[in-house]
Subunit: 329 residues, 3 copies
């Protein structure tokens, strides 16, 4: 169980054990001390990036393939910068316009990437479980950069790191996650990470966008956003997807804002100084007002910054065994 | 005021002062000796590139983000090669197909790039002033790779370098810029640079494509191309944009060529040996005939070559302060 | 004439002569010992890649431009990884969406790439002969990554390397190439390479997809796949292009599979342990059955692996003269 003292830097995780996972396909399956270990590792990269320090090219000579079957400019950019800062040969496969469209199976693509002797593969895919499927077929670590409605583990890690740095701890923080919880891999991974790290997690969504039996994941569910916000330490807004609007899940952006938009007035229901978060890109004026997004309580750009650090940590940790780092053989 | 002796290499600009600009958003605002300084810096890279010399990786460990909100294969390629030759970690953000399309604001994109701790950002954008807007929001140097109808400063620098190398000097050179002056950032930046460097600049355009009160910028305006060409030392042709045709600014490519195309016959009105230039890509047989584009007076491929050198110089100079280069703190 | 002993590593080709070609635009024009030399060079990179060995950055400081006028995720990825593993500054020009579409001529594009002082240019283009055209206009080596129906030399080299490694030799191997031979640059380059290396090559295609007078290339032609397979050591399947279906060359995928699909039953007609190959991406269930593609006789993923090694060898060999490697001046 992590405590407020979980900030100490670590090179090996508690008890001298190494991080025992070959892939990072999700937060599901990680122990709390393993999550904390990744956050600790990321801390060091935050400082290095801010100092624009002399580069530490520990992944020099390694090939990182970013296979994005679903477009995502920000996440791709973040993984690409992370890999290049560590010295990896980073290659992007824009699979959204690739032979996958020619009818090639996912397994064939996995075997192709594997045969090119990649050292680490970062995958984003529109189908839940696709990353796991690929991970099972390749001989190198696989990092999930978002798959369907399933998981987006590095997003949860960067959110946890942001909370830990800004609030001092994650333990007992009341975190409200509001929006389309049903279709959100961001929400799913965050629920797993934050409950593992002993936060008190509340989810809030319109009835049509609330997963059935969500309480089983250890969270409290709210339909009324005002009620959910009472005493919140952190308010994490989810992006409204235009396709939900078209699908009839949401009546209109106007009504959505009225009921679920984070306005300055509504934010006052949370704790004074409560942290405001959003995974981006934002729909300003829909799920979040500009004055809130740009206000002093906002940690939104800090989340982006933590993203690069977290991804550097994950790329580093997952390739340690292959690189023969001491204690990881 | 620059003279024909302005070729001497320089590391600090005249009087020991450093280049005092954080960004390069335009030629507007640069002093003549500052423009000359950038040209001098570029000279050294021309030779290094031709020698395919041992690489000088002075930007090693720095992150250069090329954020292109408007497609441009050539300019992107040129900036990417320039950065990689200097050892930077170069990352392209193909923003034309990015979250900007999801409705994200330009400011949000700027803050995202900034949060990733870029060391220099190169931006191309379809809207005039967008680059300036982003520059105001980020903590690192910004280079304008073309914004709307506003400016394209590295194009003007590479054109000036080409003229200086081929004609020996820019002072008193009669330069004719012909084409869609109204919508051309290339024309605008060139007018600013060449008049600053004491060239005699003439612009020539159909009446519908001539900016009002253009004479105030220090140039002479012509509707008749033959007249404009009299005694010209340099003829710089602008690309005919297909959208102008559709917009009714130009009656037909055939008529355009008759009145404003640079044919071998028409070129004879200029000085013997006058330089022929074009920013590319060319519409052969419209604004320029193939025999002229490929003739001995053409400096068109040399312009492309100067482009890489000029961009290396700009990337180097703008990051000196952050890199702690002596005299730049 | 190559023999089974052609595996010995070589740094200079037979007789102390260097590889005498500036470009690699096709297999056509290569001597058998020159093909063997490239395969020998590639062997070393196979081992290095498998060992994820300390990188040999012999192309450091060189600029490799991948100019792909036709989309190909796999081939681009393979060339990009090959160049980066060798330390080159690799720049991709996605020409399919570039100024070529603005009407720029191929020659202009070639001159632009050349003016940027590329050290090696890799080109893929939809028109036969386009690569040769560009090669004639530039001052650096050009590598053909596939042009129209003409050639795809690195594909033939990687196929030859795969056969040599798996079968011990290429001499006297009975290789059946089956599919759309008429429109296939893969078939064309393979016929040239394999006949040069003394294999016995059989081609098999529906009458509408069999080139006229194919026997003149030294192969035997079959319409009946079962007959062609008799005693085969290697079965190389070609991809069915959807556009052939639309063009009426093939009645239906169902009928195609019946007559020309490689099923487990049909494979039994070949030699026991015959090698199964496919350049990818596969249409599983059309030209090849999944149980065959994934079976123990399949070398399909090994082909992908050999692709990176072959491309490393070609990039290395073609830049030796410019790099002043001893014996190559």
């Amino acid at each position: 169980m992590p405590t407020a003292s979980d900030h100490r830097p670590a090179t090996l995780i508690a008890g001298g054990a190494v991080f025992p996972h070959r892939h990072l396909t999700g937060i599901d399956g990680l122990q709390p001390h393993e999550i904390t270990f990744l956050l600790d590792e990321a801390e060091g990269w935050v400082e290095a990036n801010r100092a624009h320090a002399a580069p530490d090219k520990r992944l020099a000579g390694l090939t990182q393939i970013n296979a994005f079957f679903e477009n995502s400019t920000r996440t791709l950019l973040s993984f690409e910068i992370a890999g290049k800062r560590l010295g990896a040969d980073v290659v992007n496969m824009h699979a959204a316009q690739s032979s996958v469209k020619k009818g090639e199976t996912l397994i064939d693509t996995a075997q192709t990437l594997n045969a090119m002797r990649a050292d680490v593969i970062v995958i984003r895919h529109g189908s839940s479980g696709a990353v796991r499927l690929i991970a099972d077929k390749v001989g190198c670590p696989v990092l999930n950069a978002g798959d369907g409605w399933h998981e987006h583990p590095t997003q949860a890690l960067l959110d946890a790191l942001t909370i830990r740095r800004r609030r001092g701890t994650i333990v007992n923080q009341r975190v409200v996650i509001c929006g389309d919880v049903l279709h959100s891999r961001v929400a799913r991974s965050n629920i797993l990470a934050l409950t593992a790290l002993a936060a008190e997690v509340r989810v809030c969504a319109p009835p049509t966008l609330m997963p059935a039996a969500i309480e089983r994941t250890g969270v409290t569910a709210f339909i009324d956003f005002d009620e959910a916000l009472e005493g919140a330490d952190v308010v994490m807004m989810l992006r409204v997807q235009n396709e939900r609007m078209a699908g009839g899940y949401i009546p209109s952006t106007r009504e959505y804002r009225t009921l679920y938009g984070l306005t300055p007035e509504r934010l006052k229901r949370a704790q004074p100084g409560a942290l405001v978060m959003h995974p981006g890109p934002m729909n300003r004026g829909v799920e979040i007002d500009s004055s809130v997004a740009d206000g002093i309580q906002s940690a939104i750009t800090e989340q982006v910054e933590m993203g690069v650090a977290v991804r550097m940590a994950c790329l580093d940790v997952l390739t340690r065994q292959a690189r023969g780092v001491e204690g990881w053989a």
